[in-house]
Symmetry: none
Subunit: 221 residues, 4 copies
DNA sequence: GATGAATGAGACTTCATTCAT
DNA sequence: TATGAATGAAGTCTCATTCAT
């Protein structure tokens, strides 16, 4: 527990305002003046805390990523086994985006395609963050719960890609409170992915059946 | 075979130049002047053909989408069965993006998150285009090749989301000529998806096995 | 009767179109392209006939002024006496503006305040034209119908100023078909002016009355 | 006496500069840059105070009209009787235009024929302002000093039309310091108008003379 | 004679950013 | 520390005008 300095509080105030403004109008269509008004300070004050409009933009996700990471760590520590953890992660990502749509909007719609952002420390944090998925997949491969010949990076791409696509569409349509909400897609996604990556124990034990039911060309073995 | 009018030729020249410029610098960081220089005409000439910078942007994907559609239709007519068609579609999308990285860049990195684009006719064309995936999935569900309880829209989201994620990353890293190339992900993706959606015939015939190999909580039945 | 050459006909076509366009949108808000479209020719053709947009503007009133002059001359030849001629002139000016609102609009709203126009030959024609009013007033002063100590230029200013004001307001309000129409102001204006400039014969014959009815401070003598 | 804020002072500085520039070059031929230079600030600063070039234009007469109104009110309070007041008003209008030629130029040569200006509040103020003339004329009609069958709006048109014509010509010829100066036309105008509108007391008292001196067709009774 | 195509010049306007208080 | 005031730099877009066919 640390007492936030006034300066730190003001800084976060600005970040929250910027997050809101940038989400709603888009980064390029927002002005420093918009952010200043939303914060309730003058334009100049923004520059006391951030060196440029871009600096302000890139600073926004830092705390969000940190928070998301901490929450995920905390939740995962309650869960045993890579499969269960995988579901936990999918759930967490969907839930976090859903609960923080401004953060989601900036991350997925502005920063994701910004090459300069790729050079920031925050981006490195993000990379680091997502390694956890790789680790869980590898863990599953080693424990025998998942197929042993997976490319964990590819699997992660499918997971993240699907989530981001779902969240982005939800955002684009104004975050409706319906079945398109990210968390409603958690289990379908988890099940679909799992069937593609889990080790099919039956096949191993009863492989003589292969002769009876010849697999189609997309079968795994 | 039609003879293109000079005007049409010039128009396409500009579109090609804009596609390149916008891809490389980003739409917001590009100027009409940049496009004019790349085309080899004056700024004003651009405005003879497009009413605004945004009009120019939105005009870019139109031809690409049309072409992609035609090519896909043409290829699909050679393929029988929804499963095979699904693979054909995944392949085509990856291949088309890979062969047209400028088009890919603008579609996935600029337009995808542009709300105004959603109001254009071109966007409507895109929606229409993607219905073909829905139709193939439905066809598979009806023919018994795919599970009968799928949500085709959800399945499509996973497919498109994965492809777009893969292509976007490839673009962000400068279109390297390596295993991250979109087409190299076609079969992994197809297999993964298929296992999640195909009807498992063995389960139907030998469902007594359930007692022997109790499914984990993510199992289908 | 002269047969107009094709060239001359085309030229007048353009002038009519320009008159209309400039009246409706204002000179500055009209483009050569607008005029070309209204005429039904290409932009370039305009330049075959007029050296610049301004040349086109300044050419518009020439014919109108010439026509107005001829008509006035023709009408005046039917009228005897300066007083009657004065009314004829007031009527003619109001009627001509009313019948040619495009011409009126350009003359009164665009050219009247254009310093460059003052250097054109057409402006000199206009000056010449308006001398007729001076001449009639002088004629009246000499014949004894009008006061002998008038400043004809001042009187003309009042006449023209009143007419132009009335016509301008009528134009600004969209040329309504009501009592504000220029010709409806002819007789009030004529009467008002006449009382200020006609020689008061009674005063001459019965000037002894002056003692009986001391004039107020605005009286003439 | 109020202390003007810096902001207000700067605003007026810009207005004065704009008034000068627009008068001298014409509104359309002036650029914001011209006004900025004349004011001694940057282009951008102009936009801190006025939202557009047109806003700047329309803001110019506001203060002038207000001032003119106040001065007229103040002067009129020294004058008794509608006839005297009428002369006071004619004098004031001529004098104010003469003393404020930039204001005059913009009012009479730019705004008078600008349809958009007619929709501004300032235009409404102007309308309101000119009602005072109507009221004085009506007052005179009721008191018996003026003819009872006048159309006050028509009379006003003659007054304003004459003054505007005289001032406009004076402006067009570069505000010469000679007999064409507006104030030199005050008494001639007043006298001419008065004879057209004052109740002719002699006619009433000695109407039997009508038989002796038959009036011409433009006579009043 | 007519025009389709192209453009140079420049206007208005925006906005991130700085400076002096 | 905070900000009111000011601005430089740049961008989009318009349009009168010309050139080659």
């Amino acid at each position: 527990m640390t007492v936030k300095s006034l300066k730190e509080a003001r800084r976060e105030q600005i970040l929250k305002a910027a997050e809101k403004v940038f989400s709603e109008k888009g980064f390029q269509n927002s002005t420093i003046s918009d952010v200043a008004k939303e914060t309730g300070v003058s334009d100049t004050t923004i520059y006391e805390y951030f060196s440029s409009k871009e600096d302000l933009l890139f600073s926004i996700p830092r705390d969000g990523i940190e928070l998301s990471k901490q929450m995920l760590d905390s939740h995962l520590s309650y869960i045993n086994g890579p499969t269960n953890k995988l579901r936990g992660m999918i759930y967490h990502l969907c839930k976090f985006y859903q609960d923080n749509p401004y953060f989601a909007s900036i991350s997925l719609m502005t920063l994701k395609t910004n090459k300069k952002f790729m050079e920031t420390d925050t981006y490195k944090d993000l990379i680091e963050y997502y390694k956890i998925i790789i680790n869980v997949i590898k863990e599953g491969m080693e424990s025998g719960e998942l197929k042993s010949d997976l490319d964990p990076y590819f699997v992660r791409s499918v997971i993240i890609g699907s989530i981001e696509f779902i969240v982005t569409r939800w955002l684009m349509y104004g975050c409706p409170n319906d079945k398109t909400q990210p968390v409603n897609n958690v289990d379908p996604l988890f099940k679909l992915i799992m069937q593609g990556i889990k080790k099919d124990k039956r096949m191993k034990n009863f492989n003589f059946k292969i002769k009876i039911e010849p697999d189609d060309e997309d079968g795994e073995e």
